[in-house]
Subunit: 304 residues, 2 copies
């Protein structure tokens, strides 16, 4: 390997790039032992999810490494936000090809810096990980906490409740569809590039999610993720096309079936501070847009 960098040297580089984001008051043992040790908050449940992002499937390998890192942590954290949880820590398993011109030690440091930025913005400690050799991919295990018994599920929606999304949809899908994702200048992202590379885990909407009956993050497209809620809750839904907030450059189809939005979808009988109402849950099974039955198209990793 170039420059005699070895696994442990690379781990030192990463740890340095992470800086303060590797620690938090609840982390008692961080990077450098067999495992990390955290002190749970009394009265809270642990909430945990894992995601893998594969190069040239979930991100373009030639994108700036800091954007790849930022996005990898944020899209994983979004699952915690959808449970009404607060983030606490994350573990990152990084699989890297042989280091060379494309993936250099500097690239790895930039990746870590991007993750550190997302970690700092959300209050997440990047307190452990793993480094191994293989095709480039990033697995992120994210961990949060929620008041005991208060995790928000997909399965508690009820007919008559209004459906909300936490923000504009379709921006990331539009970015990919219009091939705006490359080239990209990290310091001057267009609105569309921002939607793709800098999704925000919506912890800022936590009060509305706590008051909601059910919630899910929109990672695979509005219709497909709403359909998960409908199946789990045993009800149907009516959506109004004109009410669906579209991101800059996005078509209705981008918003309905495009992935990578990472906004939250929730149903609520309460008044809402942060969401845009897009329709209602219904006792009539099925999913209708402006009164017409719709077919579900969304991102499937293994579709036929």
């Amino acid at each position: 390997m170039a420059n005699g960098v070895n696994e442990f040297g690379l781990i030192d580089d990463i740890t340095q790039a992470l800086g303060d984001s590797a620690t938090a008051p609840w982390v008692h043992v961080g990077i450098g032992d067999d495992a990390a040790v955290m002190r749970p908050r009394p009265g809270f449940d642990a909430v945990a999810s894992i995601d893998t992002l594969v190069a040239d499937v979930h991100f373009p390998m030639s994108a700036p490494a800091d954007l790849i890192g930022y996005r990898a942590l944020m899209v994983s954290l979004s699952d915690l936000a959808a449970m009404a949880a607060l983030p606490r820590y994350a573990l990152v398993a990084l699989t890297l090809p042989e280091l060379g011109s494309q993936i250099s030690p500097q690239w790895v440091q930039q990746l870590a810096q991007g993750m550190a930025m997302a970690a700092e913005e959300t209050g997440t400690a990047l307190c452990g990980g793993n480094l191994t050799r293989g095709a480039l991919s990033i697995s992120v295990s994210v961990h949060g906490e929620v008041e005991q018994g208060q995790a928000k599920l997909r399965s508690s929606g009820e007919p008559g409740q209004r459906l909300f999304v936490t923000g504009a949809l379709g921006g990331a899908a539009a970015c990919l569809r219009q091939q705006q994702h490359l080239p990209v200048a990290p310091d001057a992202l267009s609105a569309m590039q921002n939607a793709y590379y800098r999704p925000q885990a919506r912890f800022d909407c936590r009060r509305d999610i706590q008051a909601a009956s059910c919630a899910i993050d929109i990672s695979d497209g509005l219709l497909q993720d709403l359909n998960h809620v409908l199946k789990a809750s045993g009800c149907g839904a009516d959506l109004r096309a004109a009410a669906i907030p579209l991101a800059a450059g996005a078509s209705l189809e981008d918003a309905l079936s495009g992935g990578d939005d990472y906004q939250l979808l929730f149903a609520s009988a309460e008044s809402v501070a942060t969401g845009v109402c897009i329709g209602e849950l219904s006792s009539e099974l099925g999913l209708r847009l402006d009164g017409k039955d719709v077919e579900i198209h969304g991102y499937q990793h293994f579709s036929a």
Copy 2:
């Protein structure tokens, strides 16, 4: 994809193969929502580690899938055992190539069955995961608990304490060196194959690990992992070659520098129930075998 199997169908297959191993009394929300929800035990710290196993780097792609799955969970859990933690749950991120003749839905089910066996043997709940498309690899995030403040670190060894290992070393390395790992019949593993495919996370040694001053799991070879302890503890060590327990078919070199053993190495001033004494920690820095300085060779994922 063959048979119209899609991502959600495959997840259903996996969930079915996991059976009871997907749940435990402390798991309040398991597979099927944005994240899993666990109830921590009061007075305990959370212990967490992540590992990735890449096909044809960490396991032969053509090995029986149940052995791959069993081994993937066990080697990950070993990090928890080294911290004196008890296992609670694991999340699995599975990256699969396009399903076909080599990786079929049945292969995936067998992988899950192997993981379920390791989960049942250790009392671990496989309560969440992720499925994505890419080169075959398995990332496992493992989570345990330990009495508050009682996690066992690498850094607390002291000169004069005896060094122990929890079992015979070098078996897995010998299996690979002698190319005994393939072909393999799952129901009739040789002792060497057993060492490679069925490592045991040594939770059964927990009392000795709790009473130890420091501990580490031997995943990258005895010398290299001992060296981590020495650096973290700021001391040296003297080993006796004749005292190092060798697995069936293993040479001393396999035991010293071969990876994949997943036995625990610990130092203790106490009398010990489960370990074999192989030497002592010393105030004289460096690592000596029968009085002679030794160079460290071990498994490095990114060595030059």
